[in-house]
């Protein structure tokens, strides 16, 4: 059993990204609570701050209501507010902090990356491949996006960077057929892992969603337990539509975990707080940049504290 290992302090990087975006947030809170009673107006403002971080109106309201319990009307300090809220968010996210565990009895262990267009699937796949290749695993990549212009060429570059072979088919070929052949090939090569990229698809397009189910079906003709991990890639820039994405992709291909990308931007990806609670899905990794080592394990404590601007 292996995990994606932590190389540099991802928290430092994440914090760098988040610090710019949270400065406004933390400034607000600082102004809000330095010398103040926790009254309704204060709570409303607090709720607004969470909404502005994409937690969504429902989750924000719930967090604030929980927070107000036992504290309402009391004198509260800035740091108490931040600590307590960070603690609450951390608690919500704690069950989601489960890295991807590779079952080594599967030869190969098949990972399928799915998600809407432009979420970061191909880039994440390249980063994951590099991580496992560094651990001495034999990794094969499959260019399952047979639709988008230059998608194969893009994955080839990532294959070179990670030092992994890329199994391809010409643009316009059947994605399921490619996945099938790639698994056959990876098996014959004695690969430890097969990582399959897929074309971006919007969750309301039934035809494209059916194609995913088909990819899964054909893989199971070779290995009834494949794919061993189906991961949904979510863009932190996105707002509440992530709920619809998780729902639809889960229904179609039984998603095993989430990867949240672009957390190095000013978007906070706060929607994952509600998602984690509602769907109990692990967040297996987070993307914090465009280079090969910008994929990090998800740490709920660091994430929550970075989100609230609490040090350490």
């Amino acid at each position: 059993m292996t995990e994606i290992t932590e190389t540099t302090s991802w928290w430092q990087r994440l914090k760098q990204g988040l610090s710019k975006s949270t400065s406004a947030l933390t400034q607000n809170i600082t102004q809000l609570f330095t010398h103040r009673k926790l009254d309704q107006a204060a709570l409303d403002e607090l709720e607004d701050i969470l909404i502005a971080a994409d937690l969504g109106p429902a989750t924000a309201a719930k967090l604030v209501a929980d927070f107000a319990e036992n504290r309402f009307g009391k004198d509260v300090t800035d740091s108490e507010v931040k600590d307590a809220l960070a603690g609450q968010i951390e608690q919500l996210l704690q069950p989601a902090a489960r890295p991807l565990v590779v079952d080594e009895s599967k030869q190969p262990f098949v990972v399928l990356l799915v998600g809407v267009n432009g979420a970061g699937k191909t880039t994440t796949l390249g980063k994951m491949a590099a991580g496992w290749a560094d651990q001495g695993k034999k990794v094969v990549l499959a260019a399952g996006d047979t639709f988008r212009a230059a998608a194969v060429a893009q994955l080839r570059v990532w294959g070179e960077r990670a030092g992994c072979p890329v199994f391809t088919a010409p643009e316009g070929s059947d994605a399921a057929a490619l996945a099938y052949k790639a698994l056959e090939h990876a098996k014959a090569q004695g690969a430890d892992l097969l990582l399959i990229d897929t074309a971006g698809r919007l969750q309301n397009k039934q035809g494209l969603m059916d194609e995913l189910a088909k990819i899964k079906r054909v893989l199971q003709k070779i290995d009834a337990s494949a794919p061993h991990a189906t991961l949904l890639v979510l863009d932190a820039t996105g707002g509440q539509n992530a709920h619809s994405q998780v729902k639809a992709f889960r229904e179609m291909v039984a998603v095993d975990g989430l990867i949240v990308t672009k957390l190095d931007g000013s978007a906070r990806g706060g929607v994952v707080v509600g998602l984690a609670e509602q769907y109990k899905l692990p967040i297996v990794a987070v993307g914090v940049g465009e280079t090969i080592d910008d994929l990090k394990p998800f740490d709920p404590r660091e994430y929550a504290r970075a989100l609230m601007g609490v040090e350490g």
Partner: protein
Amino acid sequence: MFDGLTGKLGGIFDRLKKRGALSEADVAAALREVRVALLEADVALPVVKDFITKVQEKAVGESVLRSVTPGQQVIKIVHDELVALLGGQLTDSLPHTNPPTIILMVGLQGSGKTTTSGKLAKRFIEKERKKVLLASLDTRRPAAQEQLEILAKQVGAGSLPIIPGQLPLDIIARALSAAKLEGYDILILDTAGRLAIDEELMSEIAAVKAKAQPHDVLLVADAMTGQDAVNVAKAFHDRVAVTGIVLTRVDGDARGGAALSMRQITGQPIKWLGVGEKMGGLEPFHPDRLAGRILGMGDVVSMVERAMETIDKDEAEKMAAKFQSGGAFTLEDMLGQMRQIKRMGGMSGLMNFLPGVAKIKDQLAKANVNENMIARQEAIILSMTKAERRDPELIKARRKQRIAAGSGTEVSEVNKLLKQYEQMRDMMKQMQKMQKSGGFGSLLGKLPPGLMPGGFGR
């Protein structure tokens, strides 16, 4: 994409409509729900607040409270405010300049810049007979330049030859001289995606703009964007003075509130909507259509455009006349509608255009409606007598049994159909009223006469 919001507001105002007069408390309660709906639709918080304040001020006026149909007045106020927020009429997409007209595409990673560059080229080539050159300044993303080159070939645009390792500013120089030398009308410059807080890359894009001197700077943003839309719009607008917004992935089910946010922050128009991955998936933006969708009236104009292509013209004219003279919606109209639906590519394609679409969609999903179901419903109506079709009140228990037997269905299905019919009839009445009061009619008024499709504008 605006379906969710449509459904939410539709639901809220349905409740308002059923009550007679509006109290201040009613308005406040409705607007609280509007607020939540807008937030769930990813409209940025400051924009939501602004909007609610404006609507509240207008809605709680005496005249509104005393009016006979206050619910409709509130809808109209919300509608008008949304239209105002989304922007006036569509501006000219292409500035008139000495060629080449230069368009710079900017935005976050993966927002759809490269794809939209190809789509714009296709549009300018096909609709405006222009000669278009595409050039990629994306030296960062793997295979980004190849991606644009492939798209250029697909749409028949010129493509600046790729020189590996050349820097963006040098590529611009080459693109400008190629465009001039080879007589291109339009030069579209695609750029690498960048984060709004990435100082280095934001300086780079500012330098790119300074060098290229584009006539149009299009900010390409995903319809799924959340609250960050405000930061993104502000940062890009500050650095490169955006002249227009392209909203991509409108073919998804995101509610697209980010469009409102970015429009508000930049003050620049939303010019284009990306509605698919293919090169044809680009539409000009129309604020009133969008506001109509948000308010549960459906995107009637698009629906009509689609309908025009397939509809039986005589039948359409008959229906239009009937609609305008205030005729009631009958089961026969419903039958005609079902047949039109089949002709027009089935339910899925059309649902996006129908008024109150989110609500209907939910109902359909719950009732497990699909194309098959339409065939069964058609059979039910066909098993009715002419008199029954004109006056469904006649259809009591006995007749229902006969109709069910005749159509090979169950009485429960007959009931369901009748219920659905009633809802559609009510919706049509609703729209006829609005047409008279000018809210919705102003939209219809823009259509050439006789183009209301049979059974659809309801």
